[in-house]
Symmetry: D2
Subunit: 413 residues, 4 copies
């Protein structure tokens, strides 16, 4: 994590914005929803609100605000996600058991910490850079949790046979997709990863390093529900030769026949969305796929998934600038950054020369660099100012509760 | 289930009372608590409130109130516990996922059903007896859930490292126990089970039947925490010869060293209670034991657990009358009915000549008559008017979230 | 266990016979078969050969033959089944991993122990009674393992798609069954359990005690495959109301549609037997049922399973004498003792006044007295001289690899 | 797979050699050992003997030898490992259940197939190239299984408390290791993967492609037991900051404190080997590590694991020629190819432009390209003529029953 901005007022404004946005995202929830945990991978909304606050308390206020008095000692363990450096975290899969502290206590916790952060910022001196760095890291950490919050609510709501709607406004309907086109990346040595010119980045995006890209082309847009439905209807889920062995084992043992949120009734398909159960929009990009499904579709389509380096260079060459506004008006299948995270065939490994952050924040990224695959881009649930070309998202191959989709690649030989 | 009272006003008054009591029992809860499910065996408070209401809607209003309009079709599946006759119930272990319907919807459901039940009762004719029988069954069903509600809250709260208190009033402290004495049952043929003289009973308590009791004596009071602690301190949990083989496997594989809610810190013992974490009261009866623990203690004490028939006859001979008031003032280790359920060594089987109720209510008891053990008596969490000599409670041998304790037996030879 | 015979030559002859019989039972096996363990409940034949030998070494030779030299120290743990008193047994489910010691070593172990037992018997004095008691217990222990050996081989062979035949001789074909008749037991107090008149019994058959039997009748023969097939064809496995709740969960979650060894191909049924895969003999008694299946069939047939006391008294009144010869010539559905073990609805509990044997042999029976159901009778795989009216076999409700069948009971009211 | 040799006599000689070698490797086994399966990942020796034979029957004799008569239809399913194209394979974890077909039948199967392969080879014409290609693939396939055979025997024997020795000759003792040195790879674009100059390669080694290597150096030898013991003794298994998160979860939940085959008794370490339980040789290379352990050690040592491309280029520059003879005389920690497989940090993915083989053999490699990590080099159990610079071995990160070790890498910045 490396913040370049040093104006403490600017960063405090951003802090205030992001903190308010987390609360705003929870406004459609009823009290019970705040405590809902659909599976071990997801967390209750209340926990997200508490944990993001704990992050500032633990890493900023406790070490840097001299007379700071801990809000309540018992929250230390409850809201620690995985930082072994600062104690043994509460068992992840039991977060849904934490009906106490009550929501009002957590909101008070947020309020107290916000006041104390403002107090700290009002009077910073020599240790400024470090403080601002941690503050900026905490802001980006909370943005990550805002996206997780929406992923988690969607998943947890999907288990309810009432199919609750998080968002009661009408959903966006996509226009018909352009024909699939291909964007070339000439072979050669390229530079990848984040550089000091970026305003902010996580440690896992560094160091900037050289890589060789073989001759390849990437599709100019995401794969649609219509295309994925054609894959299903052609027998895609019954054809073992399209699947990685682990994927085939998964779909046969769990009887998976379609993406996670698709539901077939009689002869029509619906999709569970944040707007509740909706008719499947054939023009929308296919989403919530596992790595196995993305890979199988690509094989069926005579293509493959891109590597993360191929993706990054193709995005540089063809992806255009990153929109600051990702409202529906601007939404498009052709967008590289704000529609869906795109699976790559790259496992999540350290870049050559990678050095994790020092201290407890070193646990942030590096220790997850095994048995996960990188997704690139961003999604409609990603907060603004939280997307960049070098951003490395990562999930295990069987995961599908994130907003994941497919951009294809093809070798040119 | 067989109700003998035929005065519809009396029974409606009882209905109103029991319905109000369920809501009252939830009053110490915060909104998130209403949705808390600590494990598959337990249910969230909101679900108990909905399910007990569904019982009246499904078995009383739908068949007997001609123009009754179902409150909401989707609740049919959600609040069905296990009645296969009336559809496929929602997966038990996922009840904690049901943040919707919201609490206010469930409270409205209760209110509408209560009004409709009153309307049905205000105008009953030829089918009266059947209606009153079902109503009375529903009332007793809801009383069972009131006890479950407290068991479940206790269990679920115990998973929270904050150890929340359900009841913030000071807990009762027990006086020192009397020395353990023995109450004789002379050998001979006895009659057991419920008879038509009882006001109400479940089908599993019938038919009344003869049984032979060998010469035996039962202890005059429950085993105390002090006595159980002596068992622990003498190495009880490390002595395989005291344990049934399955029990030994359980305590060694799960590293169990004490009853479920006991916590050792440094050299003192605490116990999690509905009043939060409390110093262990050595004079209180030891509670929340598995069958294995009760059996091992009995063996260590040179005794055994009684059979359910032995218990019933001993209670007839020595148990006195069943108190209508089981307030703290009357509480005593010597009480047979209102302190703790007492494990018996009898597996839960049909009595000779047993016939389940007809229709869906036939699923109430009979289908659970395997791989469970009978507990007799009642407990402090049992509603008043819900205890009788012939009552058969039943749980699997590894369960301990109910209020279970030990009364000993000894063969006289 | 209580042997009454005191002539050491008689008992030594019996020892020699039973030891030879164990080896003879293995003669159809190929070398790999000796090490085959189909599931955790079963053991490899070689292990049975070693364990029965270990029993004599551990409980007879080591304590009573003064200069006895242990065959090999490492076998102590490997061939201990579950006796915690004499050390930590090797993990049961891994017995199939024990390709070493090799079969020839185990055969040598048998031979050495046999010689030493003969040496011990040739010169017994004051401790005679105890020695003869243990010897007799070991003989009966080995007989139990002879039956287990056949159960285990059948189960393990059934997992092989080649369906190997243990016995290559033609199987017995049953004549058409008599019509089902009923045998009455008048109500009253009866005496059950073993008495000192019996030549041998296990501790769990004692003490002899009184019991009250309500008016009941038991079927005069076992249920046939034809009758069970009618249950299947009438939709028995699809009718939840016929099943105990746990049984319904088992058959639906594991998709069970017929007894364990039945196989349907096209429209005909076969059954895996010790003679390999065979056409289903409709006149043979239905076998290898779980408690749940036996209970569901009984309910479908308008009957129930008998209690173990009802069975024992009915066998006394109507069962005739126990045949010494249970060859095919004598085989009949009407036989109480040598056809199939018959499920009772009695859970396996201690009799009133039960006292386990002292010492390590006290682990033999008592510690399994929970969560199991009693089967009575005996089966075609039971060794001769190993069947008696009071014999209590026991298995968990889901088990079906033993030779279990159904005798029905009906209340007379 | 691409064989370049076209002389059918040469290839038949190689066939005869490899077939004889498989049988020879089994010669120290007793009959029961042939059927031993220690876990799902491993297979019984008899199964290896049958499966490698099935490979030739299924892919060579059935399609290309016109009048070939299948040895026995039931073996088709039993000895199919995972080729969905040719039917549903027998459940992997139950291979140890297959005591039938007996060993003598399997040996006859081998003999018949060998004769038929010789007959096919004696008269080949137009389809020659294809036949020779498949034959060569089958030969290399059997060599892979020879290594698996030794891995599997070692694992399965390790579960036996008798610690059987596969090899009763004295094991090799390593001389003291050289001080660790570093071998530089200058940054730049390199070519990796197999080329048509190689005599044989699998499809996963192709196509040859360019890659950019950043400035790096690799250690000149493998890590020793002495060095790994220092890691343990410094608290390596108790320091979460050294471990990937998944690795930390694994070692804490399964209480792992040392490599798989190390055993501590009192204060000395032993290691289970193919020679039985032996004193730990501190100069030998540390082996049987998971990816997590290799990665944690590297972090502790201030280094990291190399990528597979870094390894391949470093081996080209510094690895010397591949020895044809990997007898003990030549064994050395410095060897790149014949000591232990070396974990790389590269997940197993297709090379750019990868195309699997056509037909059923296309299932050979490509479908496993997810959630596994590449190991490079070879090991003492690898058959001669089966090692090459471009060979990609692969296992999941938690696996350790293969002969895996550590070669370190360091970024030069």
């Amino acid at each position: 994590m490396k913040p370049n901005r040093i104006d403490s007022q600017v960063i405090l404004d951003e802090y205030v914005d992001v903190r308010a946005q987390s609360v705003r995202l929870c406004s459609p929830l009823n009290p019970e929803d705040y405590n809902l945990q659909g599976m071990e991978d997801t967390s209750p909304p209340k926990w997200h609100l508490g944990h993001t606050t704990w992050f500032f308390e633990e890493f900023l206020l406790k070490p840097y605000l001299k007379d700071y008095k801990e809000f309540h000692p018992s929250l230390q363990r409850i809201f620690n996600s995985y930082y072994q450096t600062v104690g043994i975290p509460f068992t992840r899969k039991h977060r849904g058991m934490l009906t106490r502290p009550s929501l009002d206590v957590v909101m008070e916790y947020r309020s107290v910490v916000d006041q104390e952060v403002a107090r700290l910022l009002s009077d910073i001196h020599g240790r400024d850079t470090k403080i601002l760095e941690i503050l900026e890291t905490g802001i980006h950490h909370e943005k990550q949790h805002q996206e997780l919050l929406l992923m988690d609510i969607k998943y947890s709501f999907s288990l309810n046979p009432l199919f609750p709607a998080y968002d009661t406004k009408p959903r966006m309907i996509y226009p018909a997709a352009d024909e699939l086109g291909w964007l070339e990346v000439p072979p050669g040595v390229y530079k990848c990863g984040s550089t000091s010119d970026d305003l902010f980045y996580f440690d896992n995006e560094t160091p900037s390093h050289r890589t060789y890209i073989n001759h390849v082309e990437l599709s100019n847009r995401l794969v649609t529900n219509r295309e994925y439905l054609a894959f299903i209807e052609s027998g895609g889920y019954q054809s073992f030769d399209l699947w990685l062995s682990d994927g085939w084992n998964l779909i046969t043992s769990e009887n998976i026949q379609a993406p996670r949120y698709w539901i077939k009734s009689d002869h029509s398909w619906s999709e569970f969305t944040l707007h509740g159960l909706q008719e499947l929009d054939l023009n929308a990009p296919v989403s919530h796929l596992t790595y196995y499904e993305a890979d199988a579709f690509a094989r069926w389509a005579g293509a493959r998934l891109p590597s993360e380096h191929e993706w990054e260079i193709a995005a540089s060459l063809h992806g255009g600038s990153i929109p600051m506004d990702h409202s529906e008006a601007k939404r498009s299948l052709n967008n590289w950054y704000y529609e869906l995270w795109q699976w790559t065939q790259s496992s999540y490994q350290p870049y050559p020369g990678f050095k994790p952050n020092p201290g407890a924040l070193g646990e942030y990224n590096g220790k997850f660099m095994v048995d996960q695959y990188v997704l690139r881009g961003g999604c409609k649930a990603s907060p603004s100012n939280h997307i960049r070309k070098s951003y490395r998202n990562f999930f295990p191959s069987h995961s599908c509760w994130m907003f994941s989709g497919i951009r294809l690649a093809k070798d040119i030989s």
